[in-house]
């Protein structure tokens, strides 16, 4: 059953460490491949950074954009444009009045390359050499604004920033734009381009990153007892959200519905998750309530699971608290094991993987788990994909960010 306020996904676009588009990313994830690799530069040696690897884009944006596009947009906006173009074409380039089209694209960090390049320019050559497009390129709403301009989205352009929950929050915001009647179609997602020595050094200073330099592909290992931190990744994920009515009227292909939005905040610590996971569970619970379904309807969870010693188990306990014994029958995937943590893009890319899992009835695997945490009371999909049941099925996609932002989305199959 659908109702007029239902919001469906009609287009998908992504550029990730696993592939330059959705299809290649999805196939690589089912194959359990890693997109994490040693960086082809001398940063680790030159700056004494303890981490020499990351999940870098499988297809650099410079390979698919024009030279002026790469000069006029920060990489964060470039990735968003690459993903948005794919999503828009995938949706069949819907005919929609620009006043009914929204753009919500978030980044956790923003234009850090542009910001720091500008500072380097000042120190090396003086302020007169700073390029005039520096501010429009570095501002964190730049990816959203570039998408809005490209597609003529005039219903509103937004960039909700919530660290690693940004991509999921952007989708939630887009859903709300449609539910509240502000738009019929919204291009929504997240992007991140922070594989730069400064963020790597800064995350490393927090001891948040894995330092498994001798085994990059094995470094992101959520729930494994030897996990030692997350792996920085980059990329973008963008979906085309559409009111069910609008999609039906134009006969659009529907991947699934975003049927529940759940948000909460820990109000606890600027970087550490609240240890009981109460806030995370609350977000999931609110998403279920918003979707009007019960925990027993969930068949799949794409976990936030970044491979940090603390965070993974807090989330796993929260999922168990929410689902109870039903958790034993819920296929839980930690796809960051393959592409690393895409920060502000993670929630969007993982929403795409979750909706494809429902549509294809296949949950992608979690790789690198050789010895799972003994207290892990969830049904982890390991190494190979797992079939999901027929009929109407639902999934949860979790995203949590520094600052205590918790966003859970409930996705439902067609």
């Amino acid at each position: 059953m659908t109702s007029a306020s239902d919001v469906v996904i009609t287009g998908l676009g992504a550029t990730t460490p696993l592939g330059g588009d959705v299809d290649s990313t999805w196939k690589a994830s089912l194959a359990g491949r890693s997109g994490v690799r040693t960086l082809d530069n001398d940063w680790a040696e030159k700056y004494e950074i303890p981490v020499s690897f990351a999940g870098t884009l499988a297809v650099p944006s410079a390979d698919v954009l024009t030279r002026p596009e790469t000069k006029r947009m920060d990489p964060s906006a470039q990735y968003a444009i690459v993903a948005a173009r794919e999503a828009w074409v995938d949706a069949g380039a819907p005919e929609v009045d620009g006043d009914r089209l929204g753009a919500v694209v978030a980044s956790g960090i923003g234009g850090v390359w542009t910001l720091l390049d500008g500072w380097d320019t000042i120190r090396e050559k003086g302020a007169r050499r700073v390029l005039p497009l520096t501010v429009p390129m570095l501002m964190p709403n730049s990816p959203a604004a570039n998408v809005s301009i490209e597609f003529g989205a005039r219903a509103g352009t937004h960039a909700p920033v919530s660290a690693c929950a940004s991509g999921a929050e952007a989708i939630a915001y887009g859903v709300q734009m449609i539910r509240t009647g502000r738009a019929d179609v919204v291009i929504a997602g997240g992007t991140e381009a922070a594989v730069h020595p400064m963020p790597i050094s800064a995350f490393a200073a927090m001891k948040a990153l894995s330092t498994r330099n001798d085994d990059p592909a094995g470094a992101s290992r959520p729930y494994d007892v030897t996990r030692d931190g997350f792996v920085l990744g980059e990329g973008a994920g963008v979906v085309v959200l559409e009111s069910a009515e609008h999609a039906a009227a134009r006969g659009a292909r529907v991947y699934g519905r975003v049927s529940g939005l759940g948000m909460s905040s820990d109000a606890h610590h600027i970087a550490a998750p609240e240890p009981t996971g109460a806030g995370q569970t609350a977000a999931m619970q609110r998403a279920l309530e918003d979707a009007g379904i019960s925990a027993s309807d969930i068949v799949h969870v794409n976990a936030h699971a970044t491979s940090t010693p603390l965070g993974d188990m807090i989330e796993a306990r929260g999922i168990r608290a929410l689902l109870g014994p039903h958790a034993d029958q819920v296929a839980l995937s930690a796809t960051k094991s393959m592409m690393g943590h895409l920060l502000g893009a993670a929630g969007a890319v993982e929403t795409i993987l979750a909706v494809l899992a429902l549509r294809e009835r296949t949950a992608p695997p979690t790789i690198n788990v050789t010895e799972p945490e003994p207290e892990l009371e969830v049904d982890l999909v390991r190494d190979t994909p797992r079939d999901l049941p027929a009929g109407q099925i639902a999934a949860i996609n979790n995203s949590f960010g520094f600052g205590g932002h918790n966003v859970a989305l409930v996705l439902t199959s067609t």
Binding site: T66, R67, P68, K71, R72, K125, R128, R129, V130, L131, P132, L133, P136
Partner: protein, 82 residues
């Protein structure tokens, strides 16, 4: 070292091409930056910044508005070289 006008035109055409995506051979002396090459004020300031660096000259902000065509810019840069 001083650049002759032909070298300045070629260098400027490269900068404009990188900024706009136009082919270098369309950046001709008689072309207007705004009317023919569709260059907005921010792009013009970017081109000026890059040209200053490339040709080691100073193009004062007050002067930019007088650079209507590519040829105007070539002449100014040529004259401004030390």
């Amino acid at each position: 070292m001083a650049y002759n006008e032909q070298e300045i035109l070629a260098g400027l055409a490269e900068i404009v091409s990188e900024e706009t995506g136009l082919p270098t051979d369309s950046v001709l002396p008689e072309k207007s930056f705004t009317d023919d090459l569709d260059i907005d004020s921010l792009s013009m300031m970017t081109i000026v910044t890059l040209a200053e660096e490339k040709f080691s000259v100073r193009i004062p902000d007050d002067e930019v508005k007088n650079l209507a065509t590519v040829g105007d810019a070539v002449s100014f840069i040529s004259g401004a070289q030390a």
